[in-house]
Amino acid sequence: MDKNIKFKFTLYTLACVFTLVFFTNFGMSQEEQAPKIKMTVNKGVIKPMSIALPAFIKEEGANTIISRELSKVISNNLNGTGLFKTIAQTAYLDTPISFNTPVQFDNWSIINADVLVIGAVGINLDGRLEVKFRLWDVSQQKEIGKGKKYLTKQESWRRISHKISDTIYERLTGESPYFDSRVVFVSETGPKNNRLKRLAIMDQDGANFRFLKHPPSLVIAPRFSPTDNEIIFTGYETGKPNVYLMNLDNDKISSLGNLTGMSFAPRFSMDGKKIVLSITEGGNTDIFSINLGTLERRRLTSNIGIDTAPSFSPDGKNIVFESDRGGGQQLYIISSEGGDAKRISFGEGKYATPVWSPRGDLIAFTKINKGKFHIGVMRVDGSKERLLTTSFLDEGPAWSPNGRVIMFFRETPGKAGAPSIYSIDISGRNMKKIKTASFASDPNWSPLLN
């Protein structure tokens, strides 16, 4: 209970604090320099870029724990991408003691560092945390971009670590980042034939886990709003599956008016103004959209097949969904105004749970073929299909905010079978299990926080 309150307090302060954060650029150059050693993520990296990341320099008022933890969280983020490898701190020949002391580049090039991050942390007289950092190209002996400074509440240090990680990632890869983000998912406990499912939320790196408050009945597949601190999910509170909104500031649940039949598989449009979902009436499941302002409901498909798992394109003009109208499950695209659906998947097996990339270029999906499940991606026209994973049961892809990483859940077979969340790069590399306190399924990734 205590934890809950503390977390809410943190959330609240985060919401307020970030209007107070100063992002200060300082440094010698007037213009943002083009990164000298920018890497191309597309082509696949043969050798991860080597980064030296000493503990942040302790300035006035800061403690050792925070100066170490800042660099640890950043290091964990960067290493987790598979694109970077931080050099162990025990190998360093140099311990930076002051933020403005000129960098001794030789000490870093000799341990083969490509990039050096020098950071410092202190606590101001008003009690706020001051964190600053500079990013150095070791071989060129030049700063990459300009230094940055953050002023914030002390308890927000983790988010500052994520923001610094984001800046480093962005400057070194030229790609938009994803570390300052959260994941909402379903926590599962209990035996396979009597699972207790609860909605839960955590930071992208697994920290700050908490359960969301909701009635004990079954819950399914929470999805973030792209614009508000809100999720949409399917719950069985009335005994039937129904779609609900939850405000994450206070866990308040609201319904979407009087939906007839059963409703599930909701997702927001990128502007947060509409949702698209499946509604089952008379045993038949079709796709509908609901305007969240007016609660006006619009039927988009009218087909005796099962039409479900709809997902908006980032521009809101189209919807990709799955349907078994042609026999097995396949992927189709339809205008968000309705009309004729165009089939885009033609491969062997069944295709399900399509999700449009936030970049707009790819669609991630679940494929079932010859008794195996895969997570895959294809272009919007259905071409260039690539399967990234294979197992007894891989399901439910979710995009990182930058469209570079996919989370999904993998369920093991048998009596003791249970789901865990994994992430994988769209290159098909760097698959890893996300640590969670319980079994976990149905992940959904938030947009970058503000």
Partner: protein
């Protein structure tokens, strides 16, 4: 035969768990149904029918069970009926929800065709959320692709 009875007992157990979160209404009007009658319905009439992979049509073995259910229901017009539709784990979550709805609806339509009043029947889908059997092979999957007729309880709206 032992297996079947065991399966039925497991399904009873499971059903009692499933309804924990529900607001239920065991009584409609003044007439009541005894636990003995309900047990008889579950165990001897049979409350569960099975389906083929990805299908929702009623197989001959299913029709036989449904006909027995109808016979038992004949003199119990006061009883509300809920049909639960389920799927096995070999499908995606959303599709299985829709498939469970299709299966439950197939039973509902059969009951309506046989003269059950529309107002008495509710359908609900659980997709793959509530498996009866937990092994990961056809032996269990075939038992999980099911529709269960639940009498005497109705969903609160």
């Amino acid at each position: 035969m032992q297996k079947i009875i065991f399966g039925v007992l497991v399904s009873m157990l499971l059903f009692s768990c499933e309804n924990n979160g529900f607001k239920t209404n065991d009584q409609i009007g003044s007439e009541q149904i005894s636990q003995t009658d309900l047990d008889y319905f579950k165990n001897l009439v049979g409350d569960t029918i099975l389906f083929t992979v990805d299908k929702s049509d009623l197989r001959p073995d299913a029709l036989e069970v449904l006909n027995s259910q109808l016979q038992w229901l004949e003199d119990k017009k006061f009883l509300p009926i809920t049909i639960q539709g389920h799927a096995d784990e070999q499908g995606t979550r959303e599709y299985n929800l829709a498939l469970g709805a299709r299966r439950a609806n197939a039973v509902k339509n059969y009951f309506l065709a046989k003269g059950i009043e529309p107002g008495r029947i509710n359908i609900v889908t659980y997709g793959k959320e509530r498996p009866l059997r937990v092994c990961s092979n056809e032996e269990c999957w075939s038992k999980n692709r099911r529709a269960v007729t639940v009498v005497g309880k109705q969903l609160s709206e």
